[in-house]
Amino acid sequence: MSRVPYHELKARERLAAIVDPGSFAEILPPPARVMSPYLPKLGIPVAFDDGLAIGRATIDGKPIYLAAQTGQFVGGSVGEVHSAKLVGLLKAAARDRLPCVLLIESGGVRLHEGSSGEIGIAEAIRAVFACRAAGAPVIAVIGSDIGAYGGMGILSACCDFRVMTEHGRLGISGPIVIEKWMGKAAYDSADRALVWKTSGGKTRYLLGDANALVNDDTAAVRAGIARLLGPASPVTLAAIEARQAELAARLEQFAAVTSPEAIWQARGVTDPAAATLDDAETFVASLAPAAP
């Protein structure tokens, strides 16, 4: 099979596959040993990059900043050092008015570092908007096993654009938390089909939370990013009012809906059972024109 599934790759392999060959120049690379001071005290091994590789590169010759999270390392979680690298990168992108691409794979704040990661994510969200104000688009790519949850789900929603694969999930509370809260009858976290229909790329795209839904392979992800490397999405009154109206209409339209399939149908998917299996490209192409 020639396809290289994006979700199969580790953070550094993703970086390498997405940018122009050899163009990635890492900032604070592994030998710099910018590592968590918390984890060793809790008996947990550290990672040289604290689960986040950041740097500069080019896509189609255009310079960008980019970051990639390692989901295998403490769930891709965001601690003090991890968030500080992210904040620094975003500030650099705002300063240089360059696009910033975030390859997200994170369950959110790193609990082992308590409130320091929480504040770090809040700082990163401020920095995302600083980029947007500077006209430098921030693009979140969500297509990994872990997805973008918790604070990183919120941060992703603050970016100019979101590129998702059908494998990616975007949310705040994960299925296990919700199952604990609501009970297994309301949300069985082992029912992976339901989990993906609740937070997965296809549903997010249909509702307008993802700007692009691309196939789970690195070439498609790269192309999805490349298309969005133009102007940023400015935070204007008109844009905010339009979004307010859209989100209000969504809430009203689906107030009584509990099944994701009903949302799919309302958004132009004629046969949800069949469309479930479609790859992203086929799925998007098959949507009735009424869908966003």
């Binding site: 900032i27 604070l28 001071p37 918390y38 005290k41 809790l42 900043y65 003090e80 050092v81 500080a84 690298k85 904040v87 620094g88 990168l89 500030k91 609990l111 082992h112 570092e113 308590g114 409130s115 320091s116 990661g117 929480e118 504040i119 770090g120 994510i121 809040a122 969200i125 401020r126 920095a127 908007f129 973008a148 604070g151 919120i154 992703s156 929603a157 603050c158 975007l170 705040i172 509370s173 919700i178 809260w181 609501m182 309301a186 949300y187 229909k197 609740t198 937070s199 997010r204 509702l207 939370d209 935070v235 009154l237 905010i240 307010q244 989100l247 969504r250 809430l251 809906v257 949302i263």
Partner: protein, 238 residues
Amino acid sequence: MTTAELLPLLFGESAAGITVTDQILTGYATVAGQDVAVLGTADGTYINNAAALRLSAHVIEVVKTRPGLPIVMLVDSAGQEPNRTAEMLGLAGYFGHLLASLELARNQSHRLLTLATGKAIGGAFICYGMFADAIYALDSASVGLMPVEAMAAVTKIPVATLEELSKTLPALEFGAEPFALLGGVKEVWPTDASLPAKLAAALASATTEDDRARLGKERGGRTLAFDVQQRVLADSAR
């Protein structure tokens, strides 16, 4: 202290201009003679899609009808509502939109000031309160990622271990004071009659610079964040 008691303490009679519906606060008030817009949460409520949308609607109204009016955000929320339908309908998007609406206000010269009054936990704090120009907390507020017992349950690290470590690592401690050591809040205020004056002074001194990392370093609670940010900025400039 309940919301009904707290609002008059902060805003005096002008608290009457604040509506509390389903634990979501919206309205207008005055602080030491200065008009402000007020929004927030009450009684530790969980924030869902509709709540976030009501908060952003208020921000839009303020931006459109009261140019430059400072916005005071009160935080008493235990978190985002853990609910499957909320997630299915894109709760993260609603939170992102709330933050974007506040960014619009900031860009249009509205000062944003947060006071954590009760619970200020996790995603509920991130989705609006922590986005302010200046963030303060009452000494009685429950501020932080999560209480140590909850942290222990998720990380499988014993409570005793976490408590012992939190003596030297304030990030692991729950509460307004340790949060201030990390730079997450500027000051912790006692819940007394001095609040209106403090609030007025804070509004006057607020700037749009995010100085939390620097504060965290100066106060010794979050020692690495500022330096790492600066290193990235320096290395990327080469």
